[in-house]
């Protein structure tokens, strides 16, 4: 049964905006056709809403009143110092940078390593390359396929061990909001290792953007990727990100995702184990206050035996902020000896906040160990008393206990320097509370 759904203002607007400006998007005629098809797919599906099970708690038809004009490649004035300022604590990360301003790569702000096979989607498209079509039933991914302007294409050759992390920076820099669309790809050859950090920030004084990014990760056998996603765009921003990862045999993917006060954030990650004895360790923090809405949705497909997945997400919520954690684990009939664990914990700092946690285990094999759990807690008054009896004032004790809560997730970051930086980001967020 199909029910004709009346298109929302946002849906109608984006279709019209695309029709008017599609010719300004990079790429040849073939790419233009790919885009038009993707846009048609999006228009058919419309924005995901609460009756789509995976979007139950994040109804974009309701939350997204209007799309901002699509970014097609304007050149805002941005200096290296501006980038550092927007990055804040993240600027201390020693990394090779790839900077995208309003959805366009900025060579003069970037410091790519010559020996790494690094290029950008914009270059590919402008030199007549194709925009890879995405087979998906996710409307937001279709939308990305229609509007993608640029993105990092990181290709680490077989056996290559990247010493320095790559920092992919997406900056919103316009005076008015734009809808920016990046499409990144990370490819690791057999035995290759790398650390890639994605930072989403807003330039000081600039309008926060709506962003709808896609990242495809494909790792060969015995590879290792550390992936970090940091969303610090601000409470006026909308951030939608879809990550699709495929892991080869004996490959390890460590992903840490930190979202601090993004007005509306949906980070969804789909991981498929394609080879045995691979490991996925994904963890993160959702820090919300005011009316922030932060959604983390993870789907892990144990398609083969002997793989291990670990998920640990923690939310700290104040005011009327809301966090969502959905974790789906599929264990295919052949995937014996699967070892999957999932945990979501929320610390509620006010009565008005909300945490929705939805684990979903679809297990079709019998010899597996899978577990999940979720907890919701307030600051423990006994711990609070202990700290205050040691002379620590109330507010300081509170921050200390919140740090204690988030510590378990931050400890998952193996790189000490990176952990330090993200701890600092968290501390700054916590200390910004007193208004």
């Amino acid at each position: 049964m199909t029910v004709a759904i009346i298109k929302t203002k946002a849906e109608q607007g984006i279709v019209a905006d695309f029709a008017a400006h599609a010719q300004r998007l990079p790429g040849d005629a073939a790419t233009g056709k790919t885009r038009t098809e993707a846009m048609a797919a999006f228009a058919r599906a419309g924005l995901p809403h609460r009756r789509v099970e995976a979007w139950k708690y994040t109804d974009l038809r309701v939350a997204l009143k209007a799309f901002a004009p699509i970014a097609t490649g304007d050149q805002a004035q941005v200096s290296a110092a501006d980038v550092d300022e927007a990055l804040g604590s993240l600027a201390a990360i020693d990394a090779d940078r790839l900077v995208f301003v309003n959805g366009c790569y900025r060579r003069e702000l970037s410091t790519p390593k010559p020996q790494v096979n690094l290029f950008t989607l914009g270059e590919v498209l402008r030199s007549g390359g194709a925009l890879p079509a995405l087979k998906t039933d996710e409307a937001v991914v279709s939308l990305n396929g229609a509007l993608a302007t640029d993105g990092a294409v990181i290709d680490i050759a077989e056996g290559e061990k990247l010493a320095k992390p790559i920092l992919v920076i997406a900056i919103a820099a316009g005076a008015s909001a734009q809808l920016t669309t990046l499409r990144h790809a990370i490819k690791l050859g057999t035995g290759a290792t790398a650390t890639v950090i994605e930072a989403h920030v807003t330039l000081t004084g600039a309008a926060a953007s709506q962003s709808n990014s896609v990242l495809e990760i494909s790792a060969g056998d015995a590879a290792g990727l550390t992936h970090v996603l940091v969303g610090l765009e601000g409470n006026a921003a909308t951030h939608i990100e879809t990550i699709a990862a495929t892991l080869g045999a004996r490959t390890t993917l460590n992903s840490f995702q930190l979202t601090a006060s993004t007005g509306l954030a949906r980070n969804q990650m789909f991981t498929r184990f394609a080879g045995e004895h691979a490991k996925l360790d994904i963890s993160g923090l959702m820090l919300g206050r005011g009316r922030d809405h932060i959604d983390t949705t993870l789907v892990i497909d144990h398609a083969v035996p002997h793989c291990e997945s670990r998920e640990l997400f923690k939310a700290v919520l104040d005011d009327t902020a809301r966090a969502v954690f959905q974790g789906k684990v599929i264990v295919r009939p052949d995937a014996q000896k699967t070892d999957g664990k999932q945990m979501a914990k929320a610390l509620m700092l006010s009565e008005g906040c909300e945490f929705d946690s939805k684990p979903e285990l679809e297990i079709y094999a019998d010899d597996v160990v899978c577990g999940h759990g979720a907890t919701v807690a307030e600051i423990d008054p006994a711990m609070m008393f202990y700290l205050r009896s040691r002379g620590i004032p109330k507010e300081e004790a509170r921050v200390m206990l919140i740090e204690s809560f988030v510590g378990e997730a931050l400890e998952k970051i193996e790189n000490e320097k990176l952990r330090e930086v993200l701890s600092e980001v968290t501390r700054i967020w916590l200390s910004a509370r007193q208004a």
């Binding site: 711990m383 202990y386 009896s389 002379g391 740090e403 510590g407």
Partner: protein, 251 residues
């Protein structure tokens, strides 16, 4: 001088009265022991002294150096020199012991108008104090009390006591869970904190600890009241007779 005057306190949540009129004075320079059967209200008294909000004082007063501390928050009391060594110290995951100690000591020093320590200064002070109490360096790096044995937790309490330089020390069963060597170390630590301008309240179930920390007076607490007060020999007496005399029905 600590003056507890006809103190009545109940559990805030359900209104059960636990302390039913405690009157007790510990002059400066003295150490008093409080002994009593399990469940008699010893820890409750300790918590009420430190300002725990689970208990509500319904009447009476607590004066420290002539000033009522009842309206003060726990951290203000710490600033005034009050220290409680917990019977069950809390575990705080994710906060390193060293960071906690520094925050606590500097917050207290600030309240007392003393100069705060820089991080390197404090590390030196903390390490020296830890060495005296047999607290290993590695424990200072770990999360506060997480995975510490019962004895290690108690040593950590005494280390905090040493670093915070309190003037009113309340030790709640600091001897429980300790072997004889640890009791000796912990008692030495406590004895160092005795002084002419300091008062100490040592809560214990057994007489053992009082061999090391000699009290000026011993009070027996049962049914929420001080039932008997005597010299240090009262502790030895209780060791022989037990608390049977006091565990009958409340008067």
């Amino acid at each position: 001088m600590l003056e507890i005057k006809d103190l009545h306190a109940k559990i805030a949540e359900d209104g059960t009265e636990i302390l039913k009129g405690i009157t007790l004075t510990v002059p400066k320079g003295e150490v008093h022991a409080i002994m009593g059967p399990n469940g008699s209200g010893k820890s409750t008294l300790a918590y009420v002294l430190a300002g725990r909000s689970d208990y509500e004082v319904t009447s009476g007063d607590i004066l420290w150096n002539g000033e009522s501390i009842l309206e003060m928050s726990p951290d203000e009391r710490a600033g005034k020199g009050v220290f409680l060594a917990f019977q069950y110290p809390m575990e705080i995951p994710g906060v390193s012991t060293m960071t906690f100690l520094r925050t606590s000591v500097n917050a207290t020093r600030k309240k007392r108008g003393q100069k705060e320590y820089s991080t390197p200064e404090f590390m030196k002070v903390a390490r020296a104090a830890a060495l005296h109490l047999g607290v290993k360096d590695d424990m200072l790096k770990r999360a506060l009390n997480v995975g510490f044995s019962g004895g290690e937790k108690k040593r950590m309490e005494v280390l905090q006591m040493a670093l915070l330089e309190p003037t009113l020390c309340v030790l709640d069963e600091t001897d429980s869970g300790l072997d004889i060597d640890a009791i000796r170390i912990v008692s030495e630590g406590a004895n160092k904190l005795r002084g002419p301008d300091k008062a100490m309240l040592v809560i214990t179930h057994y007489q053992r600890l009082l061999n090391y920390i000699t009290p000026d007076k011993v009070h027996v607490l049962a049914h929420g009241r001080i039932q008997k007060t005597g010299g240090k020999e009262l502790a030895l007496e209780l060791e022989k007779t037990g608390y049977a005399e006091f565990t009958g029905k409340a008067a």
